[in-house]
Symmetry: C2
Subunit: 315 residues, 2 copies
């Protein structure tokens, strides 16, 4: 992971001063580096030697993190977010223009890293994941403020915006180890299901978490009128009066300062958080099961425990 952090910082360098400045802000903000860790762990699980002569997994882990960081930068512009991981977001500090353009730079740099790797298969997986992410983001924007969004559409959104990159991050780890396709697909399935669980929990936390722990503003999704499962579940299980409330605050974007508390009440009363976390748990179990084709090992158990842990942080 140290090598991966080093690769990330090194490849964010540019003669254009603002790029390393903004990059330093992002690196300082830290984050869990979950996606690059998945690439590193997947390569190891597939027996990639990961010695001095075999460092492809490090470059690809950095590449995955660049794609993720680029989408974060653009998300924060699109959502007008002021906080990211508990610190001022890049757009709040450097402005929207810089965030859009440096996001583009990171995206382009990610493609250079893939090209450096030289595997066409890796490029297909990561470029296709990048397109799926954008489609998920556009779909999410299209469903914003729309309570007639179906649960399936919501799941399609989170598959695109989150699970697709988790899946690709895992799969490329198997590809560098040159393992049989069954192992690639098992890791891809693990990543997809883990990503779904992760995003469901994230969406639950936006209505359930302590702001200081969460490192983001609670109620962000609510204020933006974002359609997530807690809202869809509370709306579906609500009374006619509840639904009038949801339509006013989400569809008409008419919110008073007290509305978030009322929304949290309704979500608690309709067990919408439990509904969301139950679904996350189902995906987490599927992620766990996907790795059963690998022989038992400390690393396999670690990855399987990660799936369970992802859900436990929500409850």
């Amino acid at each position: 992971m140290a090598a991966c952090n080093h690769a990330i910082v090194a490849r964010m360098d540019s003669p254009v001063a603002l790029i390393p400045q903004l990059a330093a802000h992002l690196v300082a903000a830290g984050g869990k580096r979950l996606r690059p860790l998945l690439t590193l762990a997947s390569a190891r699980l597939c027996g990639y030697p990961a010695d001095d002569a075999n460092q492809r997994h490090v470059g690809l882990a950095a590449c995955v993190e660049f794609i993720h960081t680029a989408t974060l930068l653009h998300d924060d512009v699109v959502d007008e977010s002021q906080l990211r991981r508990g610190l001022a977001s890049a757009n709040a500090v450097f402005g929207n223009k810089a965030s859009v353009l440096v996001g583009d730079f990171l995206f382009a740099r990610a493609f250079q890293l893939m090209t450096d790797d030289g595997s066409l298969k890796v490029m297909q997986i990561l470029s296709s994941a990048s397109a799926t992410i954008s489609e998920g983001e556009v779909l999410q924007m299209s469903t914003q403020n729309d309570l007639s969004t179906s649960v399936d559409q919501y799941l399609e959104v989170i598959h695109g915006k989150t699970a697709a990159l988790f899946a690709a991050a895992c799969r490329v780890g198997a590809v560098v180890a040159a393992r049989p396709e069954a192992e690639e697909l098992a890791l891809e399935a693990y990543g997809t299901n883990l990503g779904m669980a992760f995003q469901l929990v994230d969406d639950a936390l936006d209505y359930a978490a302590d702001q200081a722990v969460l490192g983001k503003t609670v109620g962000d999704d609510f204020r933006e009128g974002k359609i997530t499962l807690p809202v869809l579940a509370a709306y579906a299980a609500g009374t006619e009066e509840d639904r009038r409330f949801w339509r006013r605050v989400i569809e008409d974007s008419e919110q008073t300062p007290e509305d978030l508390d009322h929304a949290l009440d309704l979500i608690a009363r309709t067990d919408a958080i439990e509904t969301t976390l139950d679904r996350a748990a189902t995906y987490a179990r599927a992620a766990h099961a996907a790795l059963d084709i690998f022989p038992d090992s400390h690393l396999r158990r670690l990855l399987q425990d990660t799936a369970a842990y992802t859900v436990s942080r929500g409850s």
Copy 2:
């Protein structure tokens, strides 16, 4: 070119409805398709057969146009432009969010098109051009409103934001034809110099053109405080009073409705348009000369005339 237009429309398709909708808006807006034409023409100049079995140049031409369109979408967001090619810009019609996200989608799709082509060399050229474009855009933002920007810095900006993609568009045409590196480099030099000439003329037109002909709002660069050669030349050749004017309108962004006319006067009085077009003509001559290593042909003359024509539209 019909095949290329067809490829562009086909590859902009997506199950997410907003993507083809916004794509249709962009396709309707038309544009000169100069960059994909350069790829097609370069491939032909290098003897690429371009028959039914040899269509790589078409996919790469579409790829080049996608990269260009993605940067246009993001540029219009960053510049808050209302018009693009005489029509309402995508951000004005669909909003900034959609423009950022669909730009990302087109960028990702461009990388899928490169991956489909399968040549590592092509991917290196185009991914590196993409990173250079972003660097140019960030540098342009950093120099905005700053009259101490040097002419060299300005040239670095336009090399990044415009000439790099012209160069890559030409060079990949030579790569698919599998020609000796000297021909690749000649076409790359042609593209670089043509792109520099093109952007210089574009920057001159922003202070010189008839709005209806230009298809963009005259004075856009002025209102945004963008640092272009007409302004740098007028500032350098101006009196102390002129310079106070430029500092107020460009550095302090304090503009009254009459200021554009006064700026045009100062630019005329200091021959700043001629200075800009003279430099464009120098680049156009270099573009012309770069192709001299190819045997004389109708196509070679067409490309060489394009360089001269680029400058003539400015005078």
